[in-house]
Amino acid sequence: MNLADDQMIDRDTVEVLARAQGLDLPEDRLETLARMYAEFTIGFAAVWEIDPGDHEPAAIVFDDEVRS
């Protein structure tokens, strides 16, 4: 998935998303959040392209990693 510029979420949309989470943010935090949200969305786009196979999101338990 590649995000074109027009798919980026703008400040107003971020404000709506924040309000939906019960967060009434001042302007400076909204601007920072919009920038971070864009960075996250771009960075995570490459993760969406990877097939995680059969793995489920259960808590990782490492006991089975012990080698004899």
């Binding site: 967060l23 935090r29 959040l33 971070m36 993760v47 995680p52 489920e56 490492f62 006991d63």
Partner: protein
């Protein structure tokens, strides 16, 4: 006036001090008093401690002295001083998390890691400084001061642990590590920072930042000391839901066996760009040293490392936002700027991304398992850059400002995502005379191999025993 003997007591390693305590050549009260006096003398300038537990420490030291005199010697931690990051619960002792949200919180139970250290006879001299809730500098608490260069950062979040250990203000410290918080301060302050396998050391009583990434960590002045502290704290804890039942070996058993014939993977990150030339120089020298010791070293590209920052962000921030849900909404005026920023983004990361990140962590686990079928361990720089300016989040790399908050996960955070053990130890100095470390990571629950490699490397160095601050000691011979 500090005597040379008192300084020696404070700067001894645990392994050096333990036999002297055992043979009663040195008493726990003498050691503890010297350490408390040193802390009192210098904490005003170093800001390593938030709370100094003088009365508790002296009481514990007197008890240790009585026990040892009666022939009840518990082991190498008996009578040596420790400190705890101030997000680790201590019954009846303030645990502030370096926050203004609940700065005077007094827990009613001890964290398991502290209970185990107490059972081993260690003496608590205080609770050390940290980033607010382990993820943000807080202007309400002064930053701990780097003992090699006061104008450079002491890093974090376990800043107090790194500074206290390196500056001879404690023998060993317990920190925490969610993306590098226990290893980055070791790197810049010149200490050994060790994050064992996720589940190896209990997190019970550690105020959480991120349930699936948090680790309880060791900070010491030597690799052997790291093994001793891990020995005392490792093992299953029914009070920690993700604690492992894997048997605890003797972590010191293979220390001293060297690295001849071992196969090491060399990782420089996912690009060679953005690494400070001083870091590259120190790392290359370390690689040459390990080769000279007989290790076979091949350069590899770590799997999925380029996604580390995104996965860390999709995991840590939502988990932190859930933990701080009420505070974020109703007491945000008491949180620092960076904490709010991370909680804000953590609240907006979609659940779908969080879930995919957890599935990806298992993909990464599989890929690292394949890699470690071919190698005994992975060596890399600890961080890409020299320490930045104290009190800021930026540092210069190749003449460009780099935000330290986005530069760490590639080197350290990847081992929080995978849960693998990883250790940072001193390897050299930058052109500014600030420490630079290397990192050694390995197979799940094979901490002993990491300690073996780290010790072999440590044996080749003449790392100065004392940093220039808080006193103005002449620098020992260069590396």
């Amino acid at each position: 006036m500090t005597t040379e003997h008192e300084l020696d007591l404070c700067f001894m390693t645990i392994a050096e001090l333990a036999p002297l305590i055992r043979s009663r050549e040195i008493s726990p009260v003498e050691v503890t008093t010297a350490m408390l006096d040193r802390i009192d003398r210098h904490n005003g300038s170093m800001h390593a401690y938030i709370t100094i537990t003088r009365e508790v420490a002296l009481e514990q030291a007197r008890a240790a002295e009585r026990e040892i005199a009666a022939g009840d010697y518990r082991g190498p931690l008996h009578g040596v001083t420790i400190s705890l990051k101030d997000n680790i619960a201590t019954r009846g002792i303030r645990t502030s998390c370096a926050s203004m949200v609940a700065p005077n919180w007094v827990p009613d139970e001890d964290a398991t890691v502290y209970a185990r250290l107490r059972a081993a006879g260690a003496i608590l001299v205080g609770k050390v400084n940290l980033f607010e809730y382990a993820f943000s500098m807080n202007p309400a608490y002064p930053n701990a001061v780097n003992p090699w260069h006061p104008e450079r950062t002491s890093s974090g979040s376990s800043s107090g642990s790194g500074v206290a250990v390196a500056a001879g203000m404690v023998h060993g410290s317990i920190g925490s590590d969610t993306g590098g918080s226990g290893r980055a301060p070791a790197n810049v302050n010149g200490a050994v920072g060790f994050k064992a396998t996720y589940g190896r050391v209990s997190r019970r009583g550690l105020f959480p930042l991120s349930y699936t990434l948090d680790h309880t960590t060791m900070m010491t002045r030597s690799v052997r000391d790291s093994a001793l502290m891990l020995q005392a704290t490792a093992g299953y804890d029914p009070l920690d839901e993700n604690s492992s039942r894997v048997a605890v070996p003797d972590f010191s058993a293979v220390i001293g066996q060297g690295v001849a014939g071992m196969r090491l993977a060399l990782a420089r990150g996912y690009t060679h760009e953005g690494i400070d030339p001083d870091v590259t120089s120190v790392f290359n020298a370390a690689v040459a040293t390990l080769r000279a010791l007989g290790a076979e070293i091949e350069e590899v590209r770590l799997p999925y490392v380029e996604h580390c920052a995104a996965l860390q962000m999709a995991t840590m921030n939502p988990e932190a936002a859930e933990i701080h849900h009420e505070t974020h909404r109703h007491s945000s005026d008491k949180l620092g700027e960076t904490a709010l920023m991370r909680l804000d983004i953590g609240s907006l990361v979609p659940a779908t991304a969080y879930i995919r990140a957890q599935r990806m962590r298992k993909v990464m686990r599989d890929a690292f398992r394949d890699l470690l079928d071919r190698y005994d361990a992975i060596i890399s720089p600890a961080l890409a850059m020299r320490p930045g300016v104290a009190g800021t989040w930026t540092t210069l790399v190749d003449g460009k400002d780099v935000d330290l908050r986005s530069a760490g996960p590639e080197y350290t955070g990847i081992y929080n995502l995978t849960g693998m053990p990883a250790l940072v130890l001193p390897a050299g100095f930058s052109s500014e005379d600030t420490p630079i470390g290397i990192q050694i990571a390995g197979r799940w629950f094979d901490e002993a191999t990491i300690l073996r490699i780290a010790h072999a490397f440590e044996e080749t160095s003449d790392w100065p025993k004392r940093p220039p601050y808080p006193e103005d000691h002449p620098r020992a011979s260069s590396m």
